[in-house]
């Protein structure tokens, strides 16, 4: 009896799948493979990509790899087996993008990388055909933060700063940190006290900052964070210790960061244009599907958001 019921269910499920596959209309189906939904900004990009897909009648499927390279590859394999017409991928690890490119090329479908750049330092003509990147130049975010810090604190009195680094396997973390150092190493009065990876997480930003306060005390004048979540954690630690003199900056301009800038707690965030990236990725995937000519790399510029221009970014 049990076996019968089980078989019965399997048959029903299989029929259902067949019918839905046959019944599908001739619309494009696009798979969005996200690296990690726990990364708030990624959900922002994904939200815009999805909204654009819905508006344009695209059938949309998505997956979350939870920052696991192999899991992501399996999910992309499943997308291809499902018959998606194009892939949009936020790679878990930018240095392991090759298997993904191979899978897409083999399936002869367009592949758009978004947000995390696997082609940093690669010439556009060397990027394989049918593969695209939409995103921002990660190093710019770090440069913007550092230049604003110099503007705020000047080039004379000694400044001790620390960097909260994202996950080191992410190109954005490496490049943003690099951008910070590139600018500040030019000024002898800026001293890098410490850099530590907080894996993009607010709770780690908080704990690390507490320990930095113990280690450096008043020597610490600024914290540059690779993202807003860690910056907001740092703020909690600083405020709990009565240190509102420390400059804190993040990247992404998530909603919490907007509020914190409006309240005068956070000094700056760098806006990565989530809408530009999410919609851009979907637009490029569709253009490629329709056979239009598309540049392999589309750069969406960053914007520095401070108390002076925050009003432009809140409704």
């Amino acid at each position: 009896m049990k076996k019968f019921v089980l078989m019965f269910l399997i048959v029903i499920a299989a029929t259902g799948m067949l019918v839905s596959a046959v019944g599908a209309e001739e619309t494009y189906k696009i798979g969005y493979a996200c690296n990690n939904f726990n990364d708030t900004f990624q959900t922002v990009i994904e939200g815009y990509a999805k909204a654009y897909a819905m508006e344009n009648g695209v059938e949309y499927v998505y997956s979350d790899a939870g920052e696991d390279i192999l899991k992501q590859q399996d999910q992309i394999k499943a997308f291809i087996a499902e018959g998606v017409d194009a892939l949009i991928v936020v790679p878990v690890d930018t240095s392991a993008a090759e298997p993904i490119i191979d899978m897409a090329t083999e399936a002869k479908i367009p592949l758009v990388f978004v947000n995390r750049n696997p082609f940093a330092g690669v010439k556009p003509e060397d990027i394989p055909e049918g593969v695209y990147y939409v995103g921002s130049e990660s190093i710019d975010a770090g440069i913007f933060q550092a230049e604003y810090l110099v503007k705020l604190l000047g080039t004379e009195k000694p400044v001790g700063y620390a960097i909260l680094v994202g996950m080191l396997s992410n190109e954005a973390a490496v490049a943003r940190t690099e951008g910070n150092k590139q600018v500040l190493s030019k000024y002898p009065n800026y001293k890098l006290l410490a850099e530590k990876n907080g894996d993009w997480q607010r709770d780690q930003g908080l704990t690390i900052t507490e320990n930095w306060l113990t280690a450096f005390g008043d020597e610490l004048n600024a914290i540059l964070s690779n993202n807003d979540e860690m910056a907001l954690g740092a703020l909690e630690a600083l405020e709990a210790n009565g240190r509102d003199d420390v400059i804190v900056m993040g990247v992404d301009l998530i909603d919490d960061a907007k509020t914190a800038i409006l309240e005068g707690r956070l000094d700056a965030s760098v806006l990565q244009d989530g809408k530009g990236q999410g919609e851009g990725a979907m637009k490029i995937a569709l253009a490629a599907l329709k056979g239009e000519k598309v540049d392999p790399i589309t750069m969406i510029p960053y914007v520095l958001v401070t108390p002076e221009n925050i009003k432009d970014y809140v409704e």
């Binding site: 726990n38 708030t40 709770d203 908080l206 280690a215 909603d255």
Partner: protein, 328 residues
């Protein structure tokens, strides 16, 4: 002479990890004067409190010869639900837009209920279906995390009431609230394990499950209660971490289960069941917190920190096994 030497060895074996902790504190204090400030010690206590509270429950679980891999996820789910009920009126992205500010007791109770419920499901599965604790709680790990993402749509919930902030950042008589809550839970768990029939039965279940059954212990009920208590502590820990960040993220506390298991293990609780103490879990959590805090202050790279942590766990277990083997 022989007798003296023997008892010294006994003391060292029994309290070895305490000596390690003291040695670490002394060495750090000499190396870095900033380490030995009151403020830093309070920081260490606060930083250890979140996984320290988890380690208390984990002690009961491991004494009963079980394991709970889901506590980090349960913490995350409890935290986002508590945060959604604890937002202040000024929050710009309110989870419940039409709801006023609720008294702090409501989000706190909600977190404790959610935690206990998840724990009860774990306990129920383990006790009544007989599936191994490893599997039941592994399932709960991804289920609870999944619910946390669904509940929040992947976004953080922030701007909580001042009362919530007080739980995470306030102080009573100069002691940070997370540490106060941790101390209270230490006392409750200590009494539970040492001064009640429940506690004796926890040891009995882990020591020899058949003997326990024969002597009239309701093993199923015990397992159910142990995991429920673990879930409750995850809920309490959720309230503390939410208060500390004045916000909650659905991915919060990923991997904390391993820190809790490590604390418990360093503190001498044996994975073969029947052996373990509350003070051991506390010392184990402090050892990890002092190590993390100390190495950050010394400027040691975080990748090396992970290696040192792993070594400490392994060495602690080797020492314990030798001790337990000699006893037999």
């Amino acid at each position: 002479m022989q007798k003296n030497k023997f008892s010294f060895q006994n003391i060292f074996e029994k309290y070895g990890i305490v000596f390690v902790l003291i040695l670490m504190i002394v060495l750090m204090s000499i190396a870095k004067p900033s380490f030995r400030t009151m403020n830093n010690f309070l920081n260490i206590l606060t930083q250890s409190s979140i996984y320290g509270i988890l380690a208390l429950g984990m002690t009961l679980v491991i004494i009963s010869k079980g394991i709970d891999l889901s506590v980090g996820s349960i913490l995350g789910l409890s935290a986002v639900i508590a945060a959604s009920l604890g937002q202040s009126m000024t929050a710009s992205n309110k989870y419940f837009p039409d709801m006023g500010e609720l008294p702090i007791i409501i989000p706190v109770i909600a977190a404790l209920l959610v935690g206990s419920l998840c724990g009860a499901i774990n306990g129920g599965l383990i006790a009544f279906t007989g599936i191994p604790a490893f599997i039941a709680t592994l399932g709960m790990t991804t289920i609870a995390r999944g619910f946390a993402y669904i509940y929040t749509d992947g976004k953080p919930i922030s701007t909580l009431t001042p009362a919530f902030k007080f739980i995470g950042q306030g102080k009573i008589l100069g002691i940070p609230m997370p540490a106060v809550i941790y101390l209270i839970m230490i006392i409750i768990t200590w009494v539970l394990l040492n001064n009640t029939r429940f506690g004796k039965r926890v040891y009995a279940v882990g020591g020899n499950i058949n003997a326990a059954e024969v002597s009239g212990v309701n093993v199923k009920k015990m397992l159910f209660l142990i995991y429920t208590y673990m879930g409750l502590l995850a809920g309490i820990s959720a309230v503390v971490s939410t208060g500390r960040m004045v916000s909650a993220q659905p991915g919060l506390a990923a991997g904390y289960e391993l820190t809790a298991i490590a604390s418990t293990t360093i503190g001498g609780t044996s994975h073969s069941g029947g052996i373990g103490t509350v003070w051991g879990a506390v010392v184990g959590a402090l050892v990890l917190a002092v190590m993390r805090n100390g190495m950050t202050i010394l400027g040691i790279h975080s990748y090396w920190q992970q290696i040192v942590e792993g070594l400490v766990i392994i060495i602690a277990v080797i020492l314990d096994m030798r001790k337990n083997a000699r006893k037999k």
